[in-house]
């Protein structure tokens, strides 16, 4: 790891201002991904701004929803009564993430900013367009079992690893950020960016912007939300495929639904087409499989990850069946 300077920020404005005027600065909160990236030389900061003492860690249930401070820890959010009651998918996704130790450390803001686990991205001796734009993408022809079948480009097919982001996508969350130009809000669906021609740009965050909070609106779909995560070992692993469903059922009729997926796409993947196949219709084997087909219609399978096209449809069916769909 390259030597770096260190400053402990007093408050959010101080942190942003420090980041704005310090060349090569980055924020450190939990550090659980950042320090690995820096040890591997994937990210090289000249200066770290420690934001841990900022007053941004509260989780509050409000009249309109949930306000999660950007520095709230994963465990704290997962255990919060308002989260467990009104937003079960969030608690489930968080508890399916990482390990108990990391959940004590990692923050909500940091979780959204964690970077892909693609082995080529994390190996500085390999080519990688996300890390070194223009160097190429070895995953396209190389080992791509963990890679995306949706949302990729000819430059990058790396998946976004966050379970939390998938849950927040199904909950229509909004990310609050503070930057040198002041505060702004970014809908979760616009926060993570597909690789396109700029795979090096993961998110809509601008330089020196800090995630201050995530806001999740109350909804009937949120109350009836669930998360399903499939992986190659029982726990403590990133998703091979995951699915989040926020569902408002009236009898068997789908009043409203939001579906998001992990492990299959370059970003936390919302599927309006799959939702449309269900909304206003009865939740049946047929409508569920129609939704599954809609989800993968544009899938581009590669050498090692073709199974995800089938597996994610089955995961969706499994999840919805458990939520009231018929077998």
């Amino acid at each position: 790891m390259k030597a770096f300077g260190y400053t402990q920020a007093r408050d959010a404005a101080d942190a942003v201002s420090l980041a704005h005027r310090t060349p090569g600065a980055g924020f450190i909160a939990g550090g659980t991904d950042l320090l690995n990236l820096m040890k591997d030389g994937v990210q090289r900061h000249d200066h770290l701004i420690d934001v841990n003492r900022l007053d941004l860690a509260a989780v509050t249930g409000t009249a309109t929803g949930l306000h999660i401070g950007g520095l709230a820890r994963m465990r704290q959010v997962a255990e919060h009564p308002a989260v467990r009651k009104g937003f079960p998918v969030l608690a489930q996704a968080l508890l399916a993430s990482a390990s108990p130790q990391v959940r004590n450390m990692a923050t909500i803001g940091g979780n959204l900013l964690q970077r892909t686990r693609c082995g080529y991205f994390r190996d500085t001796a390999s080519a990688c367009n996300k890390r070194a734009p223009g160097s190429g993408c070895p995953a396209l022809a190389g080992w791509n079992r963990g890679h995306a079948v949706l949302g990729g480009s000819e430059h990058c097919i790396a998946t976004h690893p966050s379970d939390l982001a998938v849950a927040l996508t199904a909950l229509d969350a909004t990310v609050h950020v503070l930057g040198p130009g002041g505060p702004r809000r970014i809908p979760i669906g616009e926060f993570h960016l597909r690789p396109g021609d700029t795979p090096n740009v993961d998110t809509a965050l601008r330089p020196a912007e800090l995630i201050t909070a995530v806001e999740v609106p109350n909804s009937r779909t949120a109350t009836g939300s669930r998360y399903l995560k499939l992986r190659d070992r029982a726990t403590f692993e990133f998703a091979v495929v995951s699915a989040a469903a926020a569902l408002h059922l009236d009898g068997r009729t789908v009043r409203d639904v939001r579906l998001a997926f992990g492990g299959i796409a370059t970003t936390p993947w919302r599927s309006p087409d799959a939702e449309a196949a269900l909304r206003g219709r009865s939740l049946t084997v047929e409508t569920i499989s129609e939704a599954g087909r809609a989800l993968v219609r544009d899938a581009v399978p590669r050498h090692d990850n073709g199974f995800k096209v089938e597996l994610v449809q089955r995961a969706l069916a499994e999840l919805l069946n458990g939520m009231g769909g018929r077998r």
């Binding site: 790891m1 390259k2 030597a3 770096f4 300077g5 260190y6 400053t7 402990q8 920020a9 007093r10 101080d14 450190i28 939990g30 550090g31 659980t32 320090l35 690995n36 820096m38 040890k39 000249d46 200066h47 770290l48 420690d50 841990n52 990482a98 390990s99 108990p100 130790q101 990391v102 004590n104 450390m105 029982a234 726990t235 403590f236």
Partner: protein
């Protein structure tokens, strides 16, 4: 070309001196845990900063660069080698310690970030000659073989019991899965954690 040893030593001394000079300025900005000063800490790249850590109930001072992890501060600077480095990436759990009572992976945090926190390592668990119930249960249930992961398992288990995640075997298995054991004493670890939980509750 390698530096001849004598040259290397002067070079090193200079580096330390230079660092110390800069660090002196930085140190002034560091809030002393005891004084509770609120001014922000700051250091430049390459600076060595003086950090006061509270480890196992004792105040310990280390001079480290900001990039030094809590794990390396414990092992390499404070001689507390009970905490192990298995992967240095948060993927094995061998470096688990308690910070303010919560289990964390000490390889994924910087020592400089932990000023003012209460840090407990495996060396600080026993009360004199009296082992912590988790330590005793680990011996009783043969919950270790090589011992490479054991410190981390024990620290994780102490927290697991405190968190109340010991309601069933399955719950213990899930909440102890952040600690790899390559010898694979998992079954005995589960038994030890369940047993220690009973004892702690009594």
């Amino acid at each position: 070309m390698p530096n001849p040893p004598h040259h290397a030593n002067t070079h090193t001394r200079r580096t330390v001196l230079k660092s110390t000079t800069v660090a002196a300025a930085s140190t002034a900005l560091l809030p002393d845990a005891a004084s509770g000063a609120a001014s922000p800490a700051a250091a430049n790249p390459g600076d060595v900063v003086r950090v006061t850590l509270s480890v196992n109930g004792r105040s310990r001072v280390v001079d480290v660069e900001p990039r030094v992890t809590l794990l390396d501060a414990l092992r390499e600077r404070l001689g507390l080698t009970g905490t192990k480095k298995g992967c240095d990436r948060g993927e094995c759990g061998a470096c688990t310690v308690l910070v303010d009572g919560e289990r964390i992976k000490s390889c994924l945090t910087l020592a400089v970030m932990r000023r003012g926190s209460e840090i407990t390592t495996v060396e600080g668990l026993a009360d004199g000659d009296r082992l912590h119930p988790v330590q005793a249960a680990f011996i009783r249930h043969d919950a270790f073989q090589c011992g490479g992961c054991t410190s981390g398992q024990i620290m994780s288990a102490v927290a697991c019991v405190r968190e109340g995640h010991t309601g069933s075997e399955a719950e213990i298995r899930e909440w102890m899965s952040g600690n790899l054991c390559r010898c694979a004493c998992y079954q005995n670890i589960v038994a030890a954690v369940a047993d220690a939980a009973r004892e702690v509750r009594r």
